[in-house]
């Protein structure tokens, strides 16, 4: 009952949110919503202890797949977005054969190489990928009406509602997976792969599963992005974007579900709203870099550690209610 109330309040806030913002802030909100899915899906992979530098390229695979399918075969855009996720997941499945021969640092670099190869292929083959200029004129989400609200997907507010619903569903699924025995197995693979394997866990299968699921949701995020901006090109998914995702995750902290999301929200607001409003265009990278360093030095467990400090105190006072019942 209390949960329903809380979620209703959150939904109401999210519904009202765009109306409190300026137009360009609404635009930032749309990208932020999509990025939340990127970073949350990234966390699923990190649950197994592997860090990829190819996540953003995989997101691009979803974007390219959805853009190309809707353009060439006239596929209905929402289906295209789902297919973007499927293609990204299948790509990850194919990549997992070479990549999961490696672990740790080697996987990190291997995923980077694999991603760069995909990007070079996009650049090199103008047919069908459009070369360096990429694909433009991607079909927008078709407008529709639900009676009380007219979705006009040019408007950031409409697209925010749409993407927020999609992202919320995806986050719910990610959450369910994390809290399930599968999520527990991912963590087991991370912390003691030998012991997990002795308990009958097929390590490679679970690493691959995490990689494929994470990639699938990244693909959906990419497709959401493609159908909003209407254009994608290989540089939209380069290693600099990957660095941003990585820093969101690490500055936020990866030991909780909300940590990376928190990192994404805080850093995006800081970079896109605060620093821009201050008129610090030229020094933006400098300040962003400083923030990164300071947060990793003085907040090694991420922003989530602050939240945890707060909630732990509360927990102690309420004497672990879940154990009490």
């Amino acid at each position: 009952m209390r949960n329903i109330f809380i979620w209703t309040v959150i939904a109401a806030i999210l519904f009202a949110l765009p109306n409190l913002l300026s137009f360009s802030q609404q635009e930032v909100l749309v990208f932020l919503t999509i990025n939340i899915l990127v970073v949350a899906s990234y966390r699923l992979l990190t649950l197994t202890g592997e860090w990829s530098l190819g996540h953003v390229v995989i997101m691009g695979v979803g974007a390219y797949a959805s853009a190309m399918l809707t353009k060439s075969s006239g596929l209905y855009v929402p289906l295209g977005i789902v297919m973007g996720g499927v293609v990204a997941g299948l790509t990850a499945l194919a990549l997992s054969y070479p990549l999961f021969r490696m672990k740790g640092f080697y996987f990190l670099i291997g995923s980077f190489a694999a991603g760069e190869i995909i990007r070079l292929l996009w650049k090199r083959f103008r047919e069908p990928f459009g070369g360096t200029k990429g694909i433009k004129g991607i079909d927008p989400m078709p407008d529709f009406s639900v009676g009380f609200y007219d979705f006009d997907f040019f408007e950031p507010t409409s697209y925010f509602y749409f993407s927020a619903i999609v992202v919320a569903i995806c986050l719910w699924i990610l959450w369910r997976i994390e809290k399930s025995p599968i999520g527990l197995t991912f963590q087991a693979v991370h912390w003691q792969d030998k012991l997990a394997q002795a308990s009958g866990v097929n390590l490679r299968a679970y690493r691959t599963l995490a990689f494929v699921i994470a990639s699938g949701f990244a693909g959906i995020a990419g497709a959401l992005l493609a159908h909003y901006i209407g254009t994608i090109n290989p540089n939209s998914f380069d290693v600099e974007v990957m660095v941003f995702v990585l820093t969101w995750a690490i500055v936020g902290g990866t030991s909780t579900f909300y940590g990376p999301i928190l990192g994404c929200v805080v850093l995006t607001i800081l970079n896109e709203v605060v620093l821009r409003e201050l008129g610090l265009e030229q020094t933006r990278p400098l300040i962003y870099g400083l923030i990164l360093i300071l947060s990793i030095l003085f907040m090694p467990n991420g922003l989530e550690s602050i939240v945890q400090k707060f909630t732990r105190q509360k927990e102690r006072r309420s004497l672990r209610p879940e154990e009490a019942k």
Binding site: A113, I117, L120, L121, Q282, T283, L292, I293, L297, P300
Partner: protein
């Protein structure tokens, strides 16, 4: 055709020289500190800007400017060690993120200090050794080759024949055992950072008159260096040098006989194949996986 092959070979030797200087530094840092220094390309860039500031703008003799570049970037390395990597010693991922932050700062400082545009650096010399009309080795490129050979030999001597070098190798192999032997981990870390960063600065400074110096020039060299250290085996200095040579020859010949984009794909495929066949690299040992 022979001439074309000879000239391409000379081009490859030059490329191998500066790539190996950068890659060896990266390996040294990774070996001793256990951190992937993403800012290594920007250290290379910083070395080039020292030459811009001293040689191009203040007319300091070129080789003094190059030496200053080595020392200045070496000191930057010490700064990174003290401010970033030492506090984050038990957090390799944190070290990586901190180096990304440092990279952004260096880039922004270069933009603020010098602007985004390519810098002008007067030629050091226009002398060319002409083996024939079509086979030519500019002296300025010969400097880079000589410097790489000399510095790498010195490094080899230092590592294999001196006590410090022994300590460095010991702590690269097993930091805990080295600490038990009474080797100061902090000291070896300092030495590794100074040499590793200094080499990147040296390469940047030496090649500055030959390339386009701009704040974003570090990006392409870091990608190359990553490929090289993977192919060579992440912990192995000899491997890094040999892989630099292999990569430089493959890339240069493919660029000359096919095209540059195919050359990039070839380089990455080379790396991926090595990773798949022998994940520890051609010359790497099994630990540190």
């Amino acid at each position: 055709m022979i001439e074309l092959l000879a000239q391409t070979g000379l081009n490859a030797v030059y490329a191998a020289s500066y790539i190996s200087l950068v890659a060896v530094g990266l390996v040294l840092i990774f070996g001793v500190m256990g951190v992937i220094n993403f800012a290594h390309g920007e250290l290379f860039m910083a070395g080039a800007y020292v030459v811009v500031a001293l040689y191009a703008q203040r007319f300091v003799p070129f080789f003094i400017a190059v030496a200053a570049g080595l020392v200045f970037v070496g000191l930057l390395g010490l700064l990174m060690e003290r401010a970033l990597f030492r506090p984050l010693r038990d957090n390799p991922l944190g070290g990586l993120v901190a180096s990304i932050g440092f990279l952004m700062i260096l880039q922004a400082l270069a933009v603020m200090g010098f602007g985004v545009r390519m810098e002008y650096i007067p030629p050091v010399t226009q002398e060319v050794i002409a083996f024939s009309d079509k086979v030519r080795l500019p002296i300025s490129r010969l400097y880079v080759i000589i410097a790489a050979v000399v510095m790498l030999s010195l490094l080899w001597y230092f590592l294999k024949r001196t006590r410090f070098g022994w300590a460095l190798r010991a702590s690269a192999q097993d930091p805990q055992a080295a600490a038990l032997q009474g080797i100061s981990v902090t000291l070896t870390a300092k030495i590794a950072m100074f040499i590793g960063a200094g080499f990147a600065g040296l390469a940047g400074a030496l090649t500055a008159p030959l390339v386009s110096v701009n704040p974003y020039m570090g990006h392409s060299i870091i990608v190359t260096a990553f490929i090289v250290i993977i192919v060579g085996g992440v912990g192995s200095l000899e491997g890094a040098v040999l892989a630099s040579i292999v990569y430089a020859f493959v890339h240069t010949f493919v660029t000359t006989f096919y095209d540059g984009v195919i050359a990039d794909i070839t380089g990455l495929m080379l790396m991926l194949i090595v990773l798949i066949v022998k994940p520890t690299g051609l010359f790497g040992s099994a630990d540190r996986a």
